[in-house]
């Protein structure tokens, strides 16, 4: 096991720069998730850690060693690919033992290690099958088995669950997390699914257009997003944003679109008149007589909660309630954001304002 240090790493394909100086420090044994929309550079970064892509600038360290020019096979890492990349002509056990066979490990040793990995992953009955004869979830497990067998310093996962159906994805998510708790191997996991990131990570790295937007523990990112991008990316349904102006002379408030007045607290008077963006998570609205007037557009009951799309000051917002409200489209309700859970962002740069 080892730590991974990514410092000021850049990557350009020809003249196109896709990663613009990324710094990430991954502790020994940590489960770090790189998350972001497609094209943000997260997979490229992972492949640079693996050594499958060259590094244009900066430095990557695995343990104490700078690995910029170390070939992949000497980096002591194992990677699970999105399409699993199982060798179709080898049985499950041959797939898992392949790396050991290449290193001329004694046969008995290979057998015990493959057997142990198969036991961990519940693959013992399938050891003599070929990949084609396995279901998607089983293939996924074989891909992980191939990584485990090697007992590497770092596991790299490249969107490993995106080829699975929704139900299996949830199950495998838990399995991967359990596996990490058991093996405690440093793990870097790439996904575009923020739920996967939130549920699995010790630390999330949110990437966007080749830069790191924020690094932090899942709940920190949820509670204190550093900017509009992170605020909008983490959490489902996404945070509501209302553009407007801060009013702070004596008592603070926020003037939203069409003069809608929204509550604010702890805002210094110096910010009076400052253009800003008011962010409220859907789950942080309450129905209260002193709330802003909202017109219900669509009601979507999911059973455990009710999602309501409504218009405040002409803007669509989503509110989520645990209670089962019997709203109808066109109903007028009064929605009040929970004042302590409101996020304020700069109107231009989009950076978080409140301390």
């Amino acid at each position: 096991m080892a730590s991974v240090l990514v410092s000021d790493v850049r990557k350009a394909f020809g003249a196109t720069q896709v990663i613009h100086g990324v710094d990430i420090s991954i502790e020994d044994g940590e489960f770090v998730v790189l998350v972001g929309p497609s094209g943000c550079g997260k997979s490229t970064l992972l492949r640079m850690i693996a050594g499958l892509e060259n590094i244009t600038g900066g430095e990557i360290r695995i343990g104490d060693r700078v690995v910029n020019h170390v070939p992949p096979k000497e980096r002591d890492i194992a990677m699970v690919f999105q399409n699993y990349a199982l060798y179709p002509h080898m049985t499950v056990s041959a797939n898992m033992g392949f790396s050991l066979r290449l290193r001329n490990a004694p046969k008995a040793d290979i057998d015990t290690r493959v057997k142990r990995a198969a036991e961990i992953l519940g693959l013992v009955p399938y050891l003599d099958r070929f990949p084609r004869q396995l279901s998607g979830g089983q293939r996924q497990r074989v891909a992980m088995g191939r990584a485990i067998v090697r007992d590497p310093q770092v596991f790299l996962f490249d969107e490993p669950l995106s080829n699975l159906d929704a139900k299996l994805r949830v199950a495998m998510r838990t399995e991967i997390k359990e596996l990490h708790q058991r093996l405690k191997t440093t793990t870097v996991y790439v996904t575009h699914d923020q739920i996967e990131a939130m549920t699995m990570a010790d630390k999330i790295v949110v990437m966007h257009d080749g830069i790191v937007e924020q690094i932090g523990a899942p709940l920190d990112l949820y509670d204190r997003p550093a900017n509009l991008f992170v605020a909008g990316f983490i959490g489902s349904p996404s945070m509501n944003f209302l553009k407007g102006t801060i009013r702070a002379n004596g008592s603070a408030s926020f003037e939203g679109p069409h003069g809608v007045k929204l509550p604010l607290t702890g805002t210094p008077d110096a910010w009076n008149g400052r253009p800003a963006i008011y962010g409220v998570r859907p789950e942080h609205f309450v129905i209260a007589d002193d709330g802003a007037e909202a017109e219900v557009q669509v009601v979507e009951p999911t059973g455990s909660e009710t999602q309501v799309v409504a218009k405040i000051g002409g803007e669509d917002i989503i509110a989520v309630f645990r209670e089962r409200h019997q709203f109808r489209p066109g109903d007028k309700v009064r929605l009040r954001p929970e004042i302590k859970l409101v996020h304020l962002f700069d109107g231009e740069a989009g950076q978080r304002l409140s301390a």
Binding site: I77, M79, A85, R132
Partner: protein, 319 residues
Amino acid sequence: MADIALKTGTARAAPPDVSAWQRLRANKNWLGLWFMLPTAAFLILFLAYPLGLGVWLSFTDSRLGRGGVFVGLENYIFLWDDSVFWLSVFNTILYTTVASVIKFAIGLYLALLLNEHLPFKAIIRAVVLIPFIVPTVLSAIAFWWLFDPQFSVISWSLRKMGFITENINFLGDPWNARWSVIFANIWRGVPFVAITLLAGLQTVSPSLYEAATLDGASTWQRFRHITYPLLTPIIAVVMTFSVLFTFTDFQLIWVMTRGGPVNATHLMATFSYQRAIMSGYLGEGAAIATAMIPFLLGAILVSWFGLQRRKWQQGGDND
């Protein structure tokens, strides 16, 4: 639930008032038979009939312009004692084995090379195909000139460079002639092997190579454990075709040497043509051609069983 089961059950039982003819008309396989007929007629007329006729002729004493009578195995018994026939068998086997092995080696090498990121890749791929595109007769004539005893550019170049003092007798000496026609056949056959194997290489997912790289495989090990095994089904097909084409080769030899010198380059195909058409002994020529069938069947069976053994390609389809 029980209701539904009952309903489908009654629907399945054929209503008694439908005649056998109407049932036949509704049968998908009956319709399929009709769709198959044009193809079947075509194949019977142009493949099965000539093949059958050829085999039949080999049991007769037919000559050009004279229908023969059934003579049993007489033609074959005669050939059994014919040293030229056995020479043509030897030549054919030598020609096929040497040319196929070298075509495979060069073809695979070229395919691997073309699968890399080369500059001007598209142009190089097109250039590789040229020998395959040129009509066989034309390239044979070109080789005939290249191997000409007097005007050969190869002899000329070697002489100018001082390696030899006299022109090489390419097509006049038995062994020189054998190697020369084999060389021409290789030149013509390599593109087919190379391009087909290249197509096969491109179906191998790059992530397999990445996975193998991370697993610690060197370039050679990636070829040995990933590329080669994944390519075997295509190798089996392409080499079967290559062997069949080489074994039955006719044009190249006929244009360059006509089987000479002293029958040294006669293949079974050219020898059959010579006996049947040039000399007019149709029955004997047909027997020579028929004698090729066991060899060809053997080649097909080898690849058939080679393909059958690959269990990893079959199995349940869960994708």
